[in-house]
């Protein structure tokens, strides 16, 4: 068993140096939330106090999965896209800083600005729970959980911690994000490869229905 684990670690190391991360083999992310709190002064300017963003275009970070937050921050560092406002914010942060910041936001409770009013039915709820086999749309809950709080198997293996919670996220942000997946503009992780296929058959109306239902769903 140890040899298999060693092989897995070796593979993970190889992955780390060979292009976009393969999150199937990524390790567990742990950080010091208290240390992270000391590093988020700039972050909360846009993402809100404790990561509870009030600006719809900026994602809420509070209560998000730490592993997801970490790999997102590491992605900004790795891509170093000059057009992204995040590039300058992360370029001087160490890997430990990224882990600590991720741990901090993950530990904060999500407190939406407006009261949650998730509808129990409707197109968004139907697509999330059942998908639409006739249109080639799988149900989202398979990977994001029945209440959109993250992968149902989160905590059982590190790879499941990289699936984000979607409930109570800003609908504008979700609409933009899903659109990017659909149009193939995000493909920098193995999980992004999954989302490319998932979002491929989503039209604008479906994306909007999903995003609005998720935004109104309490976490």
């Amino acid at each position: 068993m140890k040899r298999i684990t060693a092989l897995g670690l070796l593979c993970a190391a190889a992955l780390a140096t060979a292009g976009p991360p393969d999150l199937r083999r990524a390790g567990r992310i742990e950080g010091d939330a208290a240390a992270g709190a000391a590093k988020v002064a700039v972050c909360v300017a846009c993402h809100g106090p404790e990561g509870n963003s009030v600006v719809p275009a900026f994602p809420a970070l509070a209560g998000q999965r730490a592993a997801y937050l970490y790999q997102s921050l590491a992605g900004f560092q790795r891509r170093a896209d000059p057009a992204s406002p995040m590039t300058a914010q992360v370029k001087d942060l160490s890997d430990a800083d990224l882990r600590n910041i991720a741990a901090y936001f993950a530990s904060r409770p999500r407190t939406p600005a407006a009261p949650a009013t998730a509808a129990g039915s409707g197109e968004g709820a139907r697509l999330f729970r059942e998908g639409d086999s006739a249109r080639g749309i799988p149900p989202c809950q398979g990977c994001h959980g029945a209440v959109a709080g993250g992968h149902p198997l989160a905590g059982t293996a590190p790879r499941y911690d990289y699936y984000p919670a979607l409930a109570a996220q800003h609908s504008d942000y979700l609409i933009a994000r899903l659109g990017h997946y659909r149009d193939g503009r995000i493909a920098d992780t193995s999980n992004a490869q999954i989302m490319r296929g998932v979002a491929h058959n989503l039209d604008d109306a479906a994306i909007r229905a999903l995003a609005e239902w998720l935004a109104a769903t309490p976490r």
Binding site: I4, L10, R24, I194
Partner: protein, 850 residues
């Protein structure tokens, strides 16, 4: 980057595995769903780069089948290039092959016929239109004159698919043949070298055969086909297939003119090159419904066989002479055969499946078929003038010269009781099955099947021109050697001749039932048992009822972390009603009114103790043990141990048939650049036969009696041993890829015998003492070695240089002595038999991504 792929073990295995996606894409109906060739059975798939990303983005580990074997890694997706609304990817592989060594050897060229020259290894073009899922694919290859394929398909995902293909495949059936006839490949063989039909001596024929050029005998298959799939709704789909399989060429066949070992200077045996020129059209139509509660399947299958020739005629070089000193016979100058009859086959079927409570399912299927042939019958003989024995030297047939016949009475279809076959077989199949899961851990299954075949019409061999009954044997040769052996019975002139006079319809009916259960003892541990009863009721076999009872117990265990174990044991007992060794009497002249038993009584048709192996009481024990062990995440060791032991309750006939074997297989893929595997297999078989020689033509059917005395008993033992082994390695080093593979097949078979006395032997009264109780071993050993070197010149161009070496060591005692000459007494051997060989194939292939 770690890789989740498994190694290539053998080209054929890989081809079969890679064929799966194609088979799944089709409806699985019809023939030729995959086209490759011997140079690359996978048609390019084997050389495709495997996808380093593995099988799924959802999980990283290697995937294994329920049996514990690693799944094959998918190939890397083609890099599609945009052209307007479409995307395309293409590949062409061009090259040059050189063969040398014993490269004319028939075995080396089996199913390929290698030739030096330019080849198109593969042309592959794929077009996709992401907007609506439209696609078009073309694949083609040509590696020799008769070895090529082309296939094209287009359609739209979820809507329709149209496919067409052409395929030519050579088969060299003899690489060393000498024909004493001209016209090989046609249906009229004429003697060459100045040989005279019916008048040539053995020496003259031997000289003509020795002077005949060496040649190969080949059959080329050409297949063409069209297919259409329609996806009408998500539940309803339909398909239609139409294909034609044409064969052209010649293969070694026969041509008997009675027993030449007994009558060395009177009878003759020829190995003729018979023509192969036929066509089979296959048609499949179907409509399917797959709903949540019901599944329906309606289909029609048709097959239509047409032979270019109705008959096949050939010159006989030898003088067929009476054994009686002083008697004379007109020469038998020609031989003849009817070719396989044109026939039509239709089958209609319907299947309904309904989901049941308790996670169950019930299905009911019905099928009805008809096989019909009404080919023109050929005349009993093809001679002119007279045939038979001229006993009184008058040259006049008649009561006083009763074994001499006028050809005009027999060489015309008017000599037949019917001008065409007018035969038909109707089939009916009813099948029902169910599965249920009454408990969480218990599955039940059962079924009932009824199958029936009815022969319509029989043929009575009666000549209305003469009033004779029976079939003239071997174009009248036996009747030209021994008086009364012509094969015909006459109520006035030949009242005691025992001969076959009618066909035997083989109607049969089968009822089978099975009931089984699978009990899941724990999460990964299950036990199953199945009882099966089969009753076979043939109408015209020695038994009217044959019953099989069998019980199979199976155990599957995956409870141990790395081990998957499957074991099964089957017990079978066969019995039935009384065995009637005289069953075929109605097909003989003895059943006709006016037949008079010969002096001494009607000969026993066969020893009463004889039991045919498919009707005999039998007890079978069969065991199977399959284990696979994951040595590491990327490595598997699997083993299979099997045995099948059959005992037959037969004093005469097959007495035992036992087989057993073991195979081991090791697969390893430590990373994307290395693949390796090895296998070894060993199996043995033993077949025991007992028989008795017919000492005199007498009525006593008892074993140990006057006709079949114990002193005439003999036994034969056929032992077979097969070994197979192989190893392969693929290693990538940057732009270079090296591959090596070695494969061995080694088979050895020995037939030994013993007998109570020389009375047991038909020929060679000393029992061929030099053999010392056993024939020489039959040996088939083929080693092959492949070494390849590939270099990626650019991202779009790569070069492959390979060498394929094959060595065959073949021994077949049936052909011993033919090196000294292919004509012995009045026997002509056209095919010299399998020859050992060593041959090599070197290829240089340029692969271009379009």
């Amino acid at each position: 980057m770690p890789r989740t792929c498994i190694p290539v073990r053998a080209p054929l295995t890989l081809a079969l595995l890679l064929a799966l996606p194609a088979a799944q894409a089709d409806s699985g109906v019809g023939v030729d769903s995959w086209r490759g060739n011997k140079l690359d059975p996978s048609a390019g798939a084997a050389s495709a780069t495997t996808d380093a990303r593995g099988m799924s983005w959802l999980r990283p580990d290697l995937r294994r089948s329920p049996g514990g074997h690693l799944y094959v890694c998918p190939a890397e997706s083609p890099q599609m290039q945009p052209i307007g609304e479409w995307e395309y990817a293409g590949r062409v592989q061009l090259g040059y092959l050189i063969t040398f060594g014993d490269d004319a050897n028939g075995h080396w060229n089996r199913y390929v016929k290698w030739d030096s020259g330019l080849i198109l290894g593969l042309l592959e073009i794929a077009l996709r239109r992401p907007e609506d899922g439209s696609y078009a694919d073309i694949r083609a290859s040509r590696i020799s004159d008769d070895d090529a394929f082309f296939q094209a398909a287009f359609g739209r995902a979820g809507s329709y698919k149209v496919e067409a293909f052409l395929r030519e495949l050579p088969n060299v059936v003899s690489g060393d043949a000498r024909s004493i006839w001209s016209g090989v490949g046609g249906n009229d063989l004429r003697l060459i070298g100045g040989l005279q039909p019916g008048r040539s001596s053995s020496a003259e024929v031997a000289a003509a055969a020795a002077a005949a050029p060496r040649r190969s005998l080949e059959v080329v298959r050409s297949k063409t086909g069209l297919g259409l799939d329609l996806y009408l709704t998500p539940q309803w789909s339909g398909y239609a297939r139409l294909s034609e399989d044409r064969r052209r060429g010649a293969r070694p066949f026969g041509g008997a003119f009675f027993y030449n070992f007994v009558f060395a200077q009177n009878a003759g045996v020829l190995e003729t090159p018979r023509p192969v020129a036929d066509s089979t059209i296959n048609m499949n139509l179907g409509l399917r419904y797959a709903g949540s509660a019901w599944r329906l399947d309606f289909g029609y299958d048709g097959s239509f066989y047409r032979d270019r020739y109705t008959r096949f005629d050939f010159d006989n070089p030898f003088r067929i002479a009476p054994s009686q000193p002083g008697a004379s016979a007109p020469p038998v100058e020609r031989g003849q055969f009817a070719t396989e009859p044109d026939n039509d086959y239709h089958n209609l079927r319907a299947s309904l499946t309904r989901r049941l409570p308790l996670d169950g399912e019930f299905s009911l299927s019905a099928a009805a078929g008809r096989l019909r042939q009404d080919d023109d019958l050929i005349a009993p003989v093809n001679c002119q003038g007279l045939f038979g024995i001229d006993q009184d030297g008058s040259g006049q047939p008649g009561p006083a010269n009763r074994f001499l016949y006028a050809c005009a009475d027999w060489n015309t279809p008017a000599a037949l009781s019917r001008r065409s076959a007018d035969l038909q077989i109707d089939t009916l199949l009813l099948d029902s099955r169910f599965t249920l899961q009454p408990l969480q851990r218990l599955h039940l299954r059962g079924g009932l099947r009824f199958n029936r075949e009815d022969y319509r019409n029989t043929y009575l061999a009666y000549n209305p021109l003469t009033g004779d009954y029976g079939y003239i044997a071997e174009n009248a040769a036996p009747g030209s050697i021994l008086g009364g052996q012509t094969g015909i019975w006459n109520p006035f002139a030949a009242r005691s001749i025992l001969t076959r006079v009618r066909s035997i319809p083989l109607d049969q009916q089968e009822i089978a039932a099975h009931l089984g259960a699978d009990w899941r003892l724990s999460e990964r541990n299950s036990l199953g048992a199945t009882y099966t009863f089969t009753r076979d009721e043939p109408s015209n076999r020695e038994r009217r009822r044959i019953d099989d009872d069998s019980l199979k117990i199976a155990w599957s265990n995956r409870a141990w972390e790395r081990l998957t174990l499957r074991a099964s044991y089957t017990w079978l007992q066969r019995g039935g009603d009384a065995y009637d060794y005289r069953l075929y009497a109605p097909a003989y002249s003895s059943s006709l009114p006016g037949f008079v038993a010969p002096f001494g009584g009607l000969p026993a048709p066969v020893v009463e103790a004889m039991r045919k192996y498919d009707l005999s009481d039998r007890r079978e024990h069969k065991v199977d043990l399959i284990a696979s062990y994951a040595l590491r995440e990327d490595m598997t060791l699997s083993a299979n141990l099997r045995g099948d032991f059959n005992n037959y309750a037969a004093q005469i006939g097959r007495q035992a048939y036992d087989t057993g074997g073991i195979s081991l297989q090791w697969d390893w893929q430590p990373g994307p650049d290395t693949q390796a595997g090895a296998y070894f297999g060993y199996d043995r078989s033993r077949l025991v036969m007992a028989n008795v020689n017919e000492e005199v033509f007498g009525p006593d059917p008892r074993l140990g009696g006057e006709t079949f005395p114990d002193t005439a008993r003999w036994w034969a033992y056929d032992k077979q041993r097969n070994r197979s082994a192989g190893a392969n390695l693929v290693q990538r080093l940057g732009r270079v890829k090296l591959d090596a593979a070695w494969n061995l097949i080694d088979s050895r078979g020995i037939t030994s015998f013993r007998f109570n006395s020389p009375l047991a032997l038909a020929y060679f009264e000393d029992g061929a003492a030099a053999l010392q109780g056993a024939f020489s071993p039959l040996r088939y050993r083929v080693d092959s070695l492949t070494l390849g070197f590939s270099l990626a010149l650019t991202p779009r161009h790569s070069l492959r240089l390979f060498d394929y070496y094959e060595r065959g060591r073949l021994q077949d005692w049936h052909y011993q002595g033919l090196q000294a000459g292919s004509v012995i007494d009045h026997r002509v051997y056209t095919d010299a038999g399998p020859q050992s060989y060593t041959a090599n194939l070197i290829g240089l292939l340029l692969d271009i991504r379009l």
